[in-house]
Amino acid sequence: MTKRLLLPYGLVGPGLLAALALVALPLLLTLSLSFLPFTYADGIGDGFTMANYVEIATDGYYQEIFLRTFLLALIVTGVSILIGAPEAYILARLSPFMRAIAFVVVLGPLLISVVVRTLGWTILLGNEGVINRVLLSIGLISEPIRLMYTFTGMAIALVHVLVPFVVLAVWTSLQKLDPATEQAAESLGAGPLTTLTRIVLPQVLPGVLSGGLIVFALASSAFATPAIIGGRRLKVVSTTIYDEFLNYLNWPLGAALALVLLVIVLVISVGVSRFVERRYKQAFQ
């Protein structure tokens, strides 16, 4: 009998050990690292200090970076929901053949390296890039708009990288939708718009929000796209962590930045999903 009781632990044990050794332990080590003092002359010292966190909280330089990062994440999330949710709705109405093609186009990029996709955006966004040349040649603008190394450029490229997650989440919740509810609304005299806003939208809202949450979490910690499109001047939190670790070798400050980022992202993620779960339960009890 004891053998039977121990079986699940034996099965889950090896994986759990790996997660403890490679996730939990490293995070604890990072936490302890973030309390160590650092000077450029002597490197990482011994002792315990709050200095790294105090610096992040009080230095306007870091406040600006955090503000920029979360503003970027918020905008990217909003735009991704605004264009991703309608696209999922359209996908559901396409013929099977067209839908198969649309899937490859819309979801396929998830399988392609972010470096490749960002390279495409650097070719499109430059002053001599495709977008500017097209706009110039049709006379819509008289001189190139700066898109590379700008906030707008970062936002555009990040939406491209992350919007498939919204499409996927909304598509999944559309699949669970009972078509009878739409038919019932129509037979009771609701127009297409009323059916969409009063019947379809409330039912897929959890999907929209969970997709948005994934985008927000990934956008606020994205590295490659902000690093390449934003360049060295337009820093976000993750590129700042990279610089502290690999250029300035100020690991304690980098660790503190990473933990502040982690806590903010986790608090927002858990908070929103709790809120969604509560609302969702109330609506469908």
């Binding site: 490679l22 359209i90 390296s113 490749v116 996927l168 490659a224 962590i241 980022l261």
Partner: protein
């Protein structure tokens, strides 16, 4: 579809254009005969594809990423299959905690995990080691496998195992002959997603890899940071082509939306 308003059609095609444009320009640029980023309309060639073969560092990184992805995905399967069986089929204290811990790499930003594992490796004196890179990738891709195998295990009818045992099969025989085959679709899908995720992983690998163990995305990133030329576009085009083939295979085998559901 006939009742879909025209505005939705226009929106759909604009969306498709938005998704395809950055990849299409990469592919186009890779066929230029110029030495800089330009379109091949006034002169096309395959010179940049030939040039890839002379870039030994990129070729080495490609093979490294391929081997790393396969190893990490396989190790993740070895750990995730028993864990998924325990979580899907047994009720035990700490079950939810175990699941949360195993899935936690999905919740953690890659950059945080990257510096955390770098910190661990520097403690152990293993900075830049291949073993460290493999371990880091394994734990990051494990949740993808776990999720798909749990989904496959959830639909399993335990009467089959009981029938096998009552007919005299050992627990191991029942697992290998009856239970495991039922999990194979989940395992195969999970392995592929795990492999692709590892192959594409950049942010964490930047911290964990070293000069001797530079994965392909890291090498490409370092290259872009300095210069953008058609060589990189040619390498990207090869990757896009390989991904396209993989996508068609995946869609035939599993359905693209279902397998990618494991990624989100």
């Amino acid at each position: 579809m006939s009742r879909t308003p025209i505005a939705l059609h226009i929106f759909h095609w604009l969306f498709v254009l938005f998704m395809v444009a950055p990849l299409a320009v990469v592919v186009l640029v890779s066929f230029t005969d110029k030495g800089y980023i330009s379109f091949p309309f006034d002169g096309a060639s395959l010179r940049w594809f030939q040039a890839i073969w002379n870039q030994k560092s990129f070729i080495d990184s490609f093979w490294l990423s391929l081997a790393l992805g396969a190893t990490a995905a396989t190790l993740a399967v070895v750990l995730a299959v028993p864990a998924a069986m325990a979580i899907a089929w047994h009720r035990f204290p700490a079950r939810d905690l175990a699941l949360a811990l195993l899935m936690s790499p999905l919740m953690l930003p890659a950059i945080v995990l990257g510096i955390a594992i770098l910190r661990l490796l520097s403690h152990l004196g293993m900075t830049g080691s291949l073993a460290g890179l493999v371990a880091a990738h394994m734990v990051v891709v494990l949740p993808y496998v776990l999720r798909l195998v749990i989904a496959a295990a959830a639909g399993y009818d335990h009467a089959l195992s009981q029938a096998a045992r009552s007919l005299g099969a050992s627990a191991w025989a029942a697992f290998r002959r009856i239970e495991l085959p039922q999990l194979v679709p989940g395992i195969a899908g999970g392995w592929i997603i795990a492999f692709v995720t590892s192959f594409d992983e950049l942010t964490m690998s930047i911290f964990v890899s070293s000069a001797g163990t530079t994965t392909l995305p890291v090498r490409m990133y370092n290259y872009i940071a300095n210069t953008i030329d058609p060589l990189l576009a040619a390498i990207s085009t090869v990757l896009i082509a390989l991904t396209l083939v993989l996508m068609i295979v995946l869609d035939r085998l599993f359905g693209l939306d279902r397998i990618l559901g494991g990624k989100a």
